[in-house]
């Protein structure tokens, strides 16, 4: 499933490493980064079909990262996965091209369903 890989962008190291290992275990190629800067570099260099994006990052605002990713690779399915529920932030994200908006914590099985949905609607 290397043709469909997931980039996990979140500043919580523990969360990122666990999620990446879980995704790999269930057959989803995935990598994790802890900052917005790294995320943009990864998207530019690699081939990620989905990005799971936290909105609170140490170096950049999540919505800025979202816009940058959409510029570099508009095909990317971005799923916002945030611990800071905010309707306005979510609306802005969807307007700027996010594929879905989820509030942490999400059951792993639910997340897999969302990834499946992203895969099915992948261009």
């Amino acid at each position: 499933m290397a043709d469909f890989s997931v980039l996990v962008i979140d500043d919580e190291q523990e969360f990122v490493s666990t999620l990446v290992r879980r995704l790999r275990k269930r057959g989803w190629e995935s990598e994790g980064v802890l900052t917005g800067g790294e995320a943009i570099l990864k998207i530019a260099a690699g081939d990620f079909a989905v990005a799971l994006l936290d909105m609170r990052l140490p170096d950049m605002d999540g919505s800025q990262v979202l816009r940058e990713i959409m510029k570099i690779n508009p095909q990317t399915r971005i799923i916002i996965l945030t611990g800071h529920a905010s309707a306005s932030e979510g609306e802005e994200g969807i307007r700027n091209g996010a594929f879905d908006y989820l509030i942490k914590p999400v059951e792993f099985e639910t997340l897999l369903e969302k990834l499946q949905a992203a895969r099915e609607r992948s261009p």
Binding site: E12, F15, K25, A85, A87, I103
Partner: protein, 864 residues
């Protein structure tokens, strides 16, 4: 220092007691003023205390949800106010009520014991094998796992192998990381109505818990037990981790789907999954749910079952009776291919069976999610007759074993073996069967044609509100209060909206879905499996949902809404509710009813209400005793002369009389009174002549006599003698008027100062001679009128307080006139209040009078 000079003054005065102290008027005034200050503070504390008590009583009957914070906060505030009353009374009476200290301590100590009531202490081993668990271990492994152990070890049915991480394990984990303080800090002051805040705080707490490391010894024990589940040839063991909260599934409380379950967990993630499920105690919907149902966070402990995954061919839910009819003669089965989770999370299309409860357990009916199955090609055929019979027998057996209808989750594996995954008491529908018919009586032709019809009734009832479609977490954050929740799939996550929704419509799902269970528990009407709902219902359009008939109408349909049963009081019987009820034992009962009784003593005070009553009564006595002692009846209290000496007495506290008034005079006329608030009240009192007592019907009069014989407190003669005179205590900007007219007691206090923030008018009204119903009608009438004039009115039983604060003087003067009028003209009208027509008639007359004199406010100035 002031206390010292006060004491010496008292000493001096006491020695002169017999020959009446000859104080200079200025000294007398100063002493009186300082006492009066204490008295006023005592009255304020008294009012606060009574209001707090009324609020607590109201919360018990109204069915609003409340938490421990409410109970603790109110009890603390109450205690503080009563402590203040005792302090003020002692200062008024030179410390002569020191013996109040003991009953106060006793009552508050008992109250504290009730409120602090011990959370369950969970001792014992951190891990128990399922082979060792039975229902006696509820406090170690939680309801869900205790029941499952019972099913396995006592009933002898097949359940998945596994083990439980007990409450002791959870406590060890939380304590080792010192999490509780931080969790409590984040929960404090959380506004449950603010969904963004709720979700953010919930996410933060869960991540705090999920990221904390497992203590080494616990991690090792978990791994060791996990290893034992591996059977030789297992390529890789997958387990399900299931929450099993202590406090969950008890009585009628399902906590359905509130906590987390993780399926297909491989060995390396067991520790992480365990932490996440422990963290699930703080899922947003669980926080809301506990608040609504009256559970304390501290009493809920998260235990976690770790069970080998069943390689399921078919799964589902089995009700030993129909969920909406506990007397049904059949079991009900929902079945779907695959895992049981698909059935309860509402996502799978299921087939429903009704199977006889007696051998040979015939199938009485089957229905697919799409409607009746006619046995046609392609229809879902999940269970064979043999499997259905096996399930029915199991359902009946479990019901017999547990003694109550059961809600059972099950799976049949690829080898055809039946596994029980969970068995719990079937939640009762919130509305009582008898009061809520299965079918409406209202005739179809009374109703407009429905917008939509179809699907199943997942929770009965009728609701009305604007449509709000929820497709994502984003919509969830924007869900308005009172809207109709319209969804495609009834995910358990939407449960956090049920305290805001007036009804639920889902395109898919059936009555076994967790969301349906919670809807039934909360008494929220719900239709599931209603096709095309999303397309047919416009967002924000107003609809009426008749869940009982599975129909949706445009707009408000009053005939249907009139049939809706009241929302159940969800708090009744819950732990928090019980604590408040227990606390109220030491708060509201009034044992000191008769001040003339020899039992009217500090030792007789068994409740906070007794203490307030005692302090209040004694403060009034002390206040007037002061006057008697220093002769203020002779010197300070002047009898008001209008045409002739009246029943009204006036005491000048400061500058309420004009400078040319002769202090030696025993009388005062209106011309010498410069107290602005007093003059306004007086004007209201005298604007219209009182028509005299209303004509009393024989029945009304009989009721008065009956009340008088039963309640000696009604006779003014029995009460403190000094209360029989009516006093105005005045200064230029201040007036306190206490009135005992006939059988009722009224108190007006007003301050109209230089600063808007200090301005207020307070009015209290209590009592009456007639029976309770008539008194309540009168209070209702007065409250109604005052409300109309902008007073903040609070009423409890036959007592009422009304107040206005921080308004300009001119506005308050008008209000004082109204109060003056009401004090005079509502005298004894309670006696005729049995008659609704009379109420309306009085209301009409009062409003006309008030409008007449409020239209010419200049008369006030003219009189001055």
């Amino acid at each position: 220092m002031q206390d010292h000079s006060m004491t010496s003054l008292f000493d001096r005065l006491t020695s002169l007691f017999r020959s009446k102290p000859r104080l200079k008027p200025a000294e007398l005034q100063a002493a009186f003023r300082s006492h009066y200050k204490e008295f006023r503070s005592l009255l304020t504390a008294n009012n606060n205390a009574l209001e707090l008590m009324a609020e607590m009583e109201q919360v018990l009957s109204a069915g609003h949800s409340f938490g421990m914070a409410f109970i603790r906060g109110n009890c603390t505030a109450l205690t503080v106010n009563i402590y203040k009353m005792i302090q003020h009374l002692n200062r008024l009476a030179d410390g002569r009520y020191a013996e109040l200290d003991q009953p106060f301590r006793d009552v508050t100590r008992r109250l504290e014991q009730v409120i602090a009531s011990r959370p369950v202490i969970t001792e014992g081993v951190m891990i128990l094998s399922m082979a060792e668990v039975d229902s006696s271990m509820v406090d170690q492994v939680g309801e869900k796992m205790a029941n499952l152990g019972e099913v396995r070890n006592r009933v002898g049915l097949r359940t998945p192998d596994g083990f439980v991480m007990t409450a002791a394990a959870g406590r060890h984990f939380t304590q080792a990381n010192d999490l509780q303080v931080e969790i409590n800090r984040r929960l404090k002051g959380l506004d449950l109505d603010n969904l963004e805040e709720l979700y953010t705080v919930s996410a933060g707490i869960q991540s705090l818990i999920a990221n904390a490391p497992l203590p080494k010894e616990l991690e090792q024990e978990i791994l060791a037990h996990h290893q034992q589940l591996v059977i030789d040839k297992d390529p890789e063991l997958l387990v399900a981790l299931r929450s099993s909260a202590i406090g969950e599934d008890r009585s009628n409380v399902s906590f359905a789907g509130q906590y987390r379950t993780q399926l297909n967990v491989s060995s390396e993630f067991v520790g992480q999954a365990y932490k996440e499920i422990v963290a699930g105690k703080y899922k947003s919907q669980a926080i809301v749910y506990r608040q609504q149902r009256g559970f304390r966070h501290q009493d809920v402990h998260m235990c976690v079952g770790c069970l080998r995954m069943v390689d399921a061919a078919i799964s589902g839910v089995l009700y030993s009776r129909a969920p909406d009819d506990p007397r049904s003669r059949f079991v009900m089965i929902q079945a779907a291919p695959g895992l049981a989770g698909n059935v309860v999370d509402g996502s799978a299309a299921t087939e429903q069976f009704r199977v006889s409860r007696t051998a040979p357990y015939d199938i009485l009916g089957r229905q697919s999610g799409a409607g009746q199955v006619g046995g046609g090609v392609g229809s879902l055929l999940t269970l064979t007759a043999v499997q259905a019979a096996e399930l029915a027998e199991v359902g009946v057996r479990l019901e017999e074993h547990f003694g109550t209808p059961q809600d059972i989750e099950w799976s049949i594996d690829q080898a055809g073996l039946l596994y029980i995954l969970q068995s719990r008491p079937l939640g009762r529908p919130a509305a009582e069967e008898s009061s809520w018919p299965r079918q409406h009586d209202s005739k179809e032709d009374d109703l407009p044609p429905p917008l939509l019809a179809g699907g199943v009734c997942a929770s009965r009832g009728v609701g009305c509100g604007p449509v709000f479609t929820v497709r994502s977490s984003l919509d969830l954050l924007r869900f308005p209060k009172g809207a109709v929740l319209v969804v495609e799939t009834p995910y358990p996550d939407w449960a956090s909206l049920l305290d805001r929704a007036s009804a639920v419509i889902s395109e898919t799902g059936q009555m076994a879905a967790h969301l349906a269970t919670v809807a039934r528990e909360f008494g929220i009407p719900a239709i599931f499996g209603m096709k095309q709902a999303l397309a047919a219902l416009d967002n924000h359009s107003l609809i009426t949902v008749d869940a009982t008939a599975a129909k949706v109408y445009e707009g408000r349909v009053e005939p249907l809404l009139a049939l809706a049963p009241p929302r159940p009081n969800l708090m009744v019987g819950s732990p928090v509710y019980k604590i408040l009820v227990a606390a109220m034992e030491y708060i509201t009962p009034l044992n000191l009813t008769d001040p003339a009784s020899p039992f009217f003593r500090p030792e007789s005070c068994l409740t906070l209400h007794d203490l307030t009553r005692y302090c209040h009564e004694k403060a009034v006595v002390e206040m007037f005793k002061f006057g008697e002692r220093y002769g203020f009846n002779d010197k300070a209290a002047k009898q008001l002369v209008v045409d002739a000496p009246s029943q009204w007495w006036v005491i000048d506290l400061d500058d309420g009389f004009s400078p040319d008034f002769d202090p030696a005079s025993r009388y005062v006329d209106l011309g010498h009174i410069v107290s602005v608030p007093m003059l306004a009240i007086w004007q209201g009192m005298t604007a219209f002549p009182w028509a005299g007592p209303p004509p009393v019907s024989l029945r009304g009069f009989g009721s008065i006599i009956f009340q008088s014989t039963r309640n000696p407190g009604l006779d003014p003669g029995v009460r403190s003698a000094m209360a029989a005179k009516n006093y105005f205590l005045i200064s230029r900007n201040f007036c306190n008027l206490s009135v005992r007219l006939g059988y009722h007691f009224a108190l007006v206090e007003a301050n109209l100062g230089e600063f808007l923030t200090e301005n207020y008018v307070n009015f209290q009204f209590k009592g009456g001679a007639a029976d309770e119903n008539r008194r309540l009608l009168r209070i209702g009438l007065i409250a109604d009128i005052l409300n109309e004039f902008g007073f903040r009115v609070e009423q409890k039983a036959d007592a009422m307080t009304a107040r206005i604060e921080k308004k300009p003087g001119s506005f308050l003067l008008e209000r004082l006139k109204i109060l003056g009028y009401l004090i005079i003209h509502t005298r004894q009208i309670d006696m005729v209040m049995g008659d609704e027509g009379m109420v309306a008639q009085y209301r009409q007359k009062i409003m006309t009078d008030l409008q007449t004199f409020l239209e010419k406010p200049e008369t006030a100035e003219m009189e001055e």
